[in-house]
Symmetry: D2
Subunit: 349 residues, 4 copies
């Protein structure tokens, strides 16, 4: 039986990607998609790839009727205040904003600068990263989709922290390189093509909000990791490469790392370990992941076996947003986990 | 019952794209893919998007066993000499090279500079463009896949020539803009990134070989059109936009053109007419077609209604090569014409 | 003796380029630069390349004091109404807007949709393209800087029209490809990086305003040429390539064309004829012109010698705007024509 | 009196950039430029920006006559064996290869995998970074031009190490992002445009050869720093951004850092400190440095004042190669240090 799904806030990039995925999903039917500013227009006027794929039009959010699964792609800070309304509109809610990602209400004040309006609801939500929280997702009523750069950073590092091989006295430095679509569909001077094209520009050298998720999800036994997170913008529309520099307790060999990564991810449908001895594709590369839900992970050890460089690549709109949200829905609803997420990506691109 | 398919010359870009499409095709099984230089290697070492999608390895071409449908992606000039061998290896052959595209053997000498070794076989082949030759494709033994820039040019202009509205005393000027993947996987100075990046560079101002196909396919009642074809390389990996400047016998209005284009393409699964009054997506745009088999067509009339500018956009590796070849196979084998070609494309990208 | 110069409207891209050129010019001193929105700020906060090059700050336009040469980089339509004020502020005015480019006041209504407020002043202005109007520029009080795509189109075609070799019964089709900086520093959805990056998108298939200048400047003995002008946006920040398709009265050979082009441009400091038999740089290429005042021109004849494809490349902000304006000032003020314009451009870039 | 200069190995990218700079230099005359493979051809066939700027042709290296200053742009490993010949050909030699950058001959075996043929000459050479070795350069006979990524890393970090504020018990992680021109003019699969365009790809996660220079030049009192160096390739032709993560002995404030950086670089003509409170140009950005000799340096402190992120941007072919070499020549020959290096760079670009 097909489930009904709707998208709240469907005119942005994550909303468009959700629409693409859900229109092609074998188990669901998209019944509504909202946009306050575009209400009444065909969705393909905003998402031109969907021309001839759907005759859906945007509706105002007020007209949204109850569905089985509601995807919310509202801005950060705008979601939490209306969480009760969301729960009335969807039997299951998948929220792509940051508003229920953090377990500690105080963290919102520290990292986002606002006070959470419904801290009492946080325990009923799940951080929607299947590789770390699959079992909780299976029964969740409210799933909080992870942040894009956080997803790449966490997936690259979690096996190492869980295996206990990271030297706790040393910093882990994470440098994420990101394309322009992660900043959204809103027009700004920093996204003006003559200014944005061809840049290699620090976006957030320190204090990036996704640090909060990384600290939360990489903690082991309540001990927060010593991570330092920096984001640099580069010329690309989609794509994130998170390069993490890890100092190990004891020297390790590649075979140890294969064991650690295979141990955690061996059965994961959307993690690929990419580590070849040679060739131009020997490391993860975000551009070939455009449109896919993969997170490709590779690494390289320094000669002394004590510094490890981990590379994790994703498409920020897919595994970093809409794709991961659909994967979570698949798990929650008992569908095949890869349903609607089969696109293998393009090469060359 | 699943048909067996194989790809001869599978290490190039069109070969890789065929592999991607055929691995995801519900009606066929890829049994073999050849590459002389890469024999023995996993296909994903060359086509990294296929990692975890197939365990196929390249085999040497000599080892190719007979299949139901053989896709040949050998270089121009290298295919014709071995055509008999191809016909022994595949019950149906879909040839992506130029070697059987032209009906007139003399045209090979004029445009390609070589003499066709098997001119007697030309009548048994079909120019594999479904929109113009669907019925012949249904029964073809040997299908010649059209050239990439020719596909965009022909699809944009055919309705006008068939409708008889083009002024025969005036030239039709076609300017195709193209990305870098059309030149193939072979490394050259002109494809060296520091030289190729960011260019707006004439590739073939005159004398482009695809002119021969355009002249052939736009001819009506044996009368060759007065077309002039120029190709300019621009910064993109995939994508062609063919802009054609047409002078009309009589002034026309937009509604006349809608009628002409809908008349020919109204039922076509892979043609979309893109002509909006406003918006940044009001004309065809190749980038959103990456990975799709669409040809998007739009136009604009000059104020006096006598010059018509037609824009046709494709992904050169898809509708311009592998996608169109799979579409032809679908027609030939009685499959759903869109089987394996469902990807809607990405936005933004 | 150093002349004083000022820039009215100095926060845009042409204004910034003027500032770069004039700060490095040996014969002038930039005394003031205005910006209503940025008044009080250091110019390098808007034009970061000028950091450590000048301590100038933007001033409000009202504070502009009289200078020897006033460069006006105000928007189209905003300049004409204040022309008398401009003439009071500058002994010589170089206006980069379109407001005094056209000789025929009625043309403003046709192409720009507004009625010229001071048509009586048009005869006292000069179209500031040195290659066509050098003598008039020498004594001009008010110089109207040409449009960017018009500059490339006109410079590529003028020698042919003047030589009388163009078949008047046939259309000349001009297709200009352009980068994003020509659209200015104003933020819009069409310039939003995820939307603008990697495009091959028709900008103005018909009706582009620069058509008016092209028609005016290519007219011979009052006969307007039969030109058709289309602009396509491609991935680049700077750069225009105008590809023109010309049908000749009589077949010509390359040596005829060398004679025609050398005849008109042989002594021009900023025109280079680029036509090699081979090599990746055998035709004009805008990217290597970034920051230079060159217009590189090349051509290719069709096999029958009757269709000629002319390629003309410029940097839209230089020969297409600020550079050409400085060149005009140099002529007007009796400076070395290349003063301040010596930068040879970069390769690779 | 004009000095004579020559370029040995002038057909590569650094050679072309040297040529551009030296042709425009007021104190020198380029008398010869060699290229084995291009001998007899005009230099502008390889460096198209120099068309109409010089009538020089490449000569075979054997024909090189003695000059006042010889710039050598031969490949790494090919220079050292012929060092005596170089010293005979040039009264002063500026060598852009790596062959005399390292003080410790054993370092060549470790990092480059070959044994230095003339270790006894190393003491007579100078590491040609003016900001660190200006006095030695003034009298040097043989100047070894620094590596491109090393230049950005060293210039960004040297003030901190010299000021003694870096915690020696903690690692300094340097992540350099780089464009494609740094890999040179040699055609390879990794530089093939369809493969190279749009990448965010680890180039050398560990073991990059420039580590050797960084370790050498950041050492204080013989104590090597604890640096870890990674290079990632991104979409750009020119440009490097080195982002360094430093852990401080004691918390510092911005004013402390301004003092440290101004103390070392306050008088440097080619270092700019770029650190604004807001704006899209608040941090260093390599793209606006194209063609300039600047190294722009900025930083950001973590909230606790203990992690410092330093960003240093250069044009790899300028401050990272040819520009720094000309700067060294200027110092050595007593010219104005900025002679020939005045280009301020472009914006937008």
């Amino acid at each position: 039986m097909t489930l009904s799904v709707a998208i709240l806030g469907g005119s942005g990039y994550a909303g468009g990607e959700l629409l693409r995925l859900l229109l092609g999903h074998p188990e669901v039917e998209v019944t509504q998609v909202t946009s306050r500013s575009r209400a009444g227009k065909f969705v393909h006027t905003v998402h031109p790839n969907l021309r001839k794929r759907t005759q859906l039009k945007f509706i105002p959010p007020e007209k949204l009727e109850r569905v089985d699964v509601l995807f919310s792609a509202l801005p950060h800070g705008a979601t939490a205040p209306q969480v009760k309304d969301l729960l009335e509109r969807g039997s299951i809610v998948v929220d792509l904003s940051a508003d229920f990602r953090l377990r500690d209400p105080a963290a919102y004040e520290r990292w986002y600068g606002w006070s959470h309006p419904f801290p009492e609801m946080i325990p009923d939500t799940v951080y929607g990263m299947p590789e770390l929280h699959r079992e909780e997702i299976r029964t969740a009523r409210y799933i909080a989709g992870p942040g894009c750069t956080a997803t790449a950073a966490i997936l690259g590092l979690a096996p190492l922290f869980r295996a206990g091989v990271v030297d706790p006295s040393m910093p882990v430095v994470i440098e994420a390189k990101t394309g322009s679509s992660g900043a959204g569909a809103e027009v700004t001077l920093s996204s003006h093509h003559p200014e944005r094209a061809g840049i290699i520009r620090s976006f957030k050298p320190t204090g990036h909000r996704h640090s909060a998720e990384i600290l939360q999800e990489l903690a082991v036994d309540g001990v927060a990791p010593n991570v330092h997170f920096t984001v640099t913008s580069v010329e690309a529309v989609r794509g994130i490469l998170a390069t993490s520099h890890v100092f190990l307790k004891e020297p390790l060999a590649d075979k140890d790392l294969w064991k650690i990564y295979r141990g955690m991810y061996g059965q994961e449908p959307f993690i690929r370990l990419v580590k070849e001895a040679s060739g131009i594709h020997r490391y993860p590369e975000p551009k070939i992941l455009s449109g896919t839900n993969y997170c490709d992970i590779g690494w390289e050890l320094d000669a002394d076996g004590k510094r490890l460089v981990v590379m994790a690549a994703i498409d920020n709109l897919m595994k970093g947003a809409a794709g991961q949200a659909v994967q979570a829905m698949n798990i929650r609803c008992g569908f095949d986990e890869t349903a609607g997420l089969e696109f293998p990506g393009l090469h060359p691109i």
